[in-house]
Symmetry: C2
Subunit: 198 residues, 2 copies
DNA sequence: GTCCAAAACAAACAGTTGTTTTATCCGGAC
DNA sequence: GTCCGGATAAAACAACTGTTTGTTTTGGAC
């Protein structure tokens, strides 16, 4: 085979390793997972992993980078979009839950394991997280300006409240549950946008 | 000195170790923290720790048990109390933030590191977590029954949304910030109870 | 001062960590 | 068939893991 050399085509095994690592990092954490755990999960010896990856940390970086990208990919269009801020925020909430539901373990890695990135990689990961937070802040601000959202509540805290509720979902969402991700997302949007007071 | 032998009076050093462990477990996680880290933080050699604690895991168990107790201690009275469910829920939200603010790192351990408890200790910790969740569910249910809270939204999801937002606070709350814990709690209660829609 | 127990040190334990090295295997090109 | 390059195995590396052991230090009671 051997296509053009510096094309990142690495076939299946690299993906299998990334999936196993994602699964394990999400369940046991980065520091709680050994290369031997990962190797065992994909049916290889620990040393053999290094034919496909550079290091344990590079593996983490790839999982996190790819993971954040998925959240940004569904949120950023809603920021740029014209239209009712209320509808856009509702879409962002529901989309977030759908991304979580698609792979709760990856989300856990994205939300919790970024602390273990090396100093060189940390700033970029943090920057991407801020970008995501800013998406929500922007749409809420749009809503306040249009008069559809309350102007009298602390904007930053309202956004952090929403994001907190969303980031906690991988802790309890089960794909086996009777509610679909979309339904859960809609219910959460109901609670967060309208509150629970009758 | 030597008081009655089986009294659990262990003086200061045990507390110093627990505080250092709390700090480190919260920041680096249980598996990311070594006994040598803890020993270094309290100015001891690693082996010397075992004059005060039974094991690394016993340390984790103590921190978590004590931690959950603090949340239960402020929430359970509000469940038993007679009075406006809306006010009680607001109190529970504000009190939760205050407990987090008092020591965000301990809260991180309580919320995230319980997974690393041994099988023997896990069930009790999980049971206590459920008890805390049940407190919120009960008060929300009271509110729905009294007609003060919406009956048409998914109760379980509403509670998990509230708890998620609350459990995420140690991630961003800073004691150095300009808002006090009480003020943050009030703002979160505003957002969660009343929603953000004008 | 002597004595004693609690606490600390110093050193080691067996096992695990991420990673590297060397050699063997295997499938396709020729 | 031979040859070649990528994937795997096998073994080892130094460093680190939680914990135990034996010894020394400490500080108060007498």
């Amino acid at each position: 085979m051997a296509l053009a050399p510096n094309v990142e085509t690495d076939g299946k095994p690299r993906l299998a390793i990334m999936n196993a690592a994602m699964h394990l990092f999400g369940k046991q954490g980065f520091t709680g997972t050994s290369m031997r755990d990962i190797a065992g999960a994909v049916g290889l010896l620990p040393g053999s992993l290094y034919a496909h990856i550079a290091s344990k940390e590079a593996l983490l970086l790839d999982i996190i980078t790819d993971g954040i990208e998925r959240f940004l990919a569904v949120a950023e269009p809603q920021v740029a979009a014209a239209g009712d801020p209320l509808v856009r925020l509702r879409n962002m909430i529901a989309a977030h839950v759908e991304v979580v539901a698609e792979n709760p373990e990856r989300s856990q890695v994205v939300f919790h394991q970024w602390r273990f990135l090396a100093e060189d990689n940390l700033p970029e990961a943090i920057e991407r997280r801020s970008r995501y937070e800013a998406c929500f802040a922007q749409v809420v601000e749009d809503g306040v300006r249009s008069g559809q959202m309350k102007a009298d509540l602390n904007l930053r805290i309202a956004v952090l409240t929403i994001l907190g509720a969303l980031n906690w979902t991988p802790e309890w969402f089960s794909p086996a549950g009777k509610l679909s991700a979309r339904e859960v997302g809609e219910s959460m949007a109901d609670a967060l946008l309208g509150g629970i007071v009758a």
